[in-house]
């Protein structure tokens, strides 16, 4: 019996969009096959990896990743430039964590100043993230979106509790938008519908179904992402067709496995490689599930993922 390749041809697709402006603009998403299934159709473009920077020194990052940026992390613009010019980052994600009331509680004006400085420093696409404080984000991100008008940034994250103001700001200033819900495909769908009802076109939305680290609920994120991709392709569900975001770094670089020294837990092996592997395997697994845009922290984890992508694409 001759072998017949069991192909599945889908009617749906993943929406394709351009992030950033100018020569360094990048395309994410696209395609109509499951991730890395090129035997049956064209897949999405190579996932884009953004290196994360912050508006304040990363005092809460574990040493193994903090020390990678010790010479630049007190200046967001210098940090961004280092990521682009020295580390070759294809995108930068600025997290305005210092605006959180429990952190430095930086003002909206200070945040705007940081956004402008970072935009002046780099020309790769910029992702502007809030501090995940629902009320403060709706002030900070609105001002940040205005300050970055015309730069085709990604603004996030809009959640059910604050999406209206953030969507309006992204709409008015021509940005892309990250819509985040909590590990549930129905919530992800519902939020995308609500955003669509505000007149925000779905080809400008990226879905963040909430990330988790390896060993800390990765299987939930993995399966929600797989289900979103299947809904987009097999069921041609247009609300599930935006590219998927994996905010990997912040979920990985706070768990015990990236912080416990080898002297305490010799059976866990070298801490440096352990942390890098944790971030890189989390990211790799989620790419297999369908991620289009990754936000990561450790340069060597990014390097590992990029080398793996060379084999995958």
């Amino acid at each position: 019996m001759a072998y017949v390749i069991p192909k599945e041809n889908f009617s749906g697709k993943v929406l394709e969009m351009t992030l950033g402006a100018g020569d360094k603009a990048a395309v994410v998403g696209g395609g109509s096959a499951l991730p890395f299934h090129s035997f049956e159709g064209e897949g999405s473009t190579r996932p884009l990896i953004a290196l994360e920077i912050q508006d304040v020194p990363p005092s809460d990052w574990p040493d193994e990743v903090k020390k990678q940026y010790s010479s630049v992390s007190d200046d967001p613009a210098g940090w961004a430039k280092y990521c682009q010019n020295d580390l070759g980052a294809k995108a930068v994600a600025l997290r305005l964590v210092g605006t959180h009331p429990d952190r430095e509680n930086r003002s909206v004006e200070d945040a705007v100043g940081t956004v402008k400085a970072v935009l002046d420093a780099v020309d790769v696409p910029l992702i502007i993230l809030g501090s995940n404080h629902v009320e403060k984000d709706s002030q900070v991100l609105v001002a940040a979106a205005e300050a970055a008008s015309g730069k085709n940034c990604v603004i996030g994250k809009a959640q059910e509790a604050n999406y209206k103001t953030i969507v309006a700001a992204a709409l008015a200033n021509n940005h892309k938008l990250i819509a985040m819900s909590e590990l549930d495909i129905n919530l992800a769908k519902q939020l995308n519908i609500l955003i669509g009802q505000m007149g925000f076109s779905s080809d400008r939305v990226l879905t963040d179904p909430m990330c988790s680290a390896l060993g800390y609920g990765l299987e939930y994120t993995y399966s929600v992402m797989e289900r979103i991709r299947l809904a987009a392709l097999a069921q041609n569900d247009t609300t599930m067709q935006p590219p998927i975001v994996g905010d990997v770094g912040m979920y990985v670089w706070k768990i015990k496995e990236v912080m416990a020294p080898e002297t305490d837990l010799p059976e866990w092996g070298a801490i440096e490689e352990r942390g890098i592997a944790w971030e890189s395997i989390t990211a790799t697994s989620l790419m297999v599930a369908g991620v289009n845009l990754l936000i990561m922290r450790h340069p060597k984890a990014v390097e590992g993922v990029n080398k793996t992508l060379d084999e995958l694409t």
Binding site: Y216, L230, K256, G269, I281, V288, G304, V305, E311
Partner: protein, 447 residues
């Protein structure tokens, strides 16, 4: 192809004798259709029906035991493409590959790495399951010696004979026959000799070819020659090949009923760059590999790959649980804060992680709620004032605590009044609704 319950029912005696343990033949037929019963449970079924049903009820991917003894692992028996549909059944075996050209000291040391690889995670003992010895020396005697040495130093690991020379395989099989080594090296050129060895010693036969169509030809011939336990190697060279080949094989087996591809798959994930090897292994674990071969098994890599394998093979319908007890975080003194939560592993991990991040020494009491999260457990009546009070009163671990203040999750703030009634002398404090509020809460509390 699978039969429906009604189709199966027509082949049964229809006596409703109950000897199978089910009340009627129809009920038994339904269980057979769901693969939750075995046809052998019916003593009266005809041989003809048994043959038909045996074929139809055989799992689409053959189940095969790798290795011997307590640490042997089952492969295959998978039924679905995606883990949200149904649990992935038998986790991928991880194997270290060693060349027989290594010195005896190196071989022994690397085999000991396998023997000492066990790590406990969430109550499961996880380890490198197998060691593969690759025939590179060209000397059958040297190969057998290397296999013997490795098998002795890794006494519980499954042995894989990664060798395309039938004479060398035969020499090695003789020295480790009791370990039931897997022969991994049958190809187009040596199939007859390898089949003969596998049959004679009742061993698993790994067959290799370049691509799926070529390997199908070999699995069919091996099966026709009388080998049942087969493992497939399509020569996948890149991570992309691994996804594409493994996906096509799984789909062909479970959706198209292609029997020649209804076997577990082995993938070579060996890379010079150990971080890339870890990532490629992750791709193979996520995408249907039953055995992966590695060059390096550093402890950090083992921990990460074991964890991924555990995550991917978790039952999506049964929550992971941690044992009920009072967990001490950051070496708490007698007056350290005392929190309570449920034993859903994700809840525990997230809460414990945030407590660790706070750097505030704390006791975290984890109560058995059958693996449900806080709100779900409360709604299901498993995390109620009565049950929490009973847990607090019966747990001896509280002897080390010098105070009587219990912090409950903010999502069940509604329980605080009832709990104070049930626990006279205790002060009940309502904590944050989300775990990420814990660092600020704990710092504030102990400031």
């Amino acid at each position: 192809m699978a039969l429906t319950g009604v189709q199966i029912f027509k082949l049964l005696p229809k006596t409703n004798c109950k000897k199978c343990g089910f009340p009627t033949c129809l009920a038994f037929a339904m269980k057979l259709a769901q693969r939750q019963a075995e046809i052998s449970a019916c003593p009266d079924v005809s041989e003809e029906a048994k043959a038909t049903l045996g074929d139809a009820s055989a799992p689409p991917v053959r189940g095969i035991m790798l290795g011997t003894g307590d640490k042997s692992v089952k492969m295959g028996e998978e039924n679905v493409m995606f883990r949200h549909e149904k649990k992935f059944v038998n986790p991928c075996a991880i194997a270290l590959n060693l060349s027989d050209t290594l010195s005896d000291d190196d071989l022994a040391a690397r085999a000991v790495e396998v023997a000492a690889s066990e790590i406990d995670r969430v109550g499961q003992k996880l380890r490198v399951d197998a060691v593969s010895v690759e025939f590179a020396s060209g000397d059958a005697g040297k190969y057998a010696d290397a296999v013997k040495l490795v098998a002795d130093k890794a006494p519980e690991a499954a042995i894989i004979l990664n060798c395309t020379d039938p004479q060398a395989v035969e020499a090695a099989v003789k020295v480790v026959a009791a370990r039931k080594p897997m022969i991994y090296g049958a190809d187009e050129g040596n199939l007859d000799a390898m089949v003969a060895l596998a049959k004679e010693h009742k061993l698993i036969l790994g067959v290799s070819a370049d691509g799926i169509e070529a390997v199908m030809d070999l699995t069919r011939k091996a099966k026709e020659a009388g080998v049942d336990d087969i493992v497939i190697d399509t020569g996948a060279k890149t991570a992309k090949d691994i996804i594409e080949h493994n996906t096509q094989i799984r789909r062909s087996a479970i959706k198209k009923g292609v029997k020649e591809l209804g076997y577990p798959v082995i993938n070579n994930c060996m890379r010079d760059d150990t971080m890339v090897e870890a990532n490629v292994a992750a791709v193979a674990i996520a995408k249907y590999a039953s055995i992966i071969l590695l060059n390096h098994i550093e402890r950090w890599k083992n921990l990460a790959l074991f964890t991924l394998r555990q995550n991917i093979y978790t039952d999506p319908q049964v929550p992971m649980q941690v044992p009920q007890k009072v967990y001490e975080i950051s070496d708490p003194a007698a007056d350290a804060p005392l929190l309570i939560t449920t034993n859903f592993s994700l809840t525990y991990f997230i809460v414990a992680g945030e407590v660790e991040n706070s750097k505030v020494p704390t006791r975290l009491a984890v109560m058995d709620c059958e693996g449900l999260s806080v709100l779900t457990a409360w709604a299901a009546g498993k995390f109620t004032a009565n049950k929490i009070a009973q847990f607090i009163n019966e747990t001896e671990d509280f002897n080390a605590v010098s105070h009587k203040e219990l912090v409950i999750p903010g999502q069940v703030a509604i329980l605080s009044g009832a709990l104070e009634d049930k626990l006279p002398g205790w002060k009940i404090t309502v904590g944050p609704r989300e775990a990420n509020g814990l660092p600020a809460f704990l710092k504030n509390k102990t400031a």
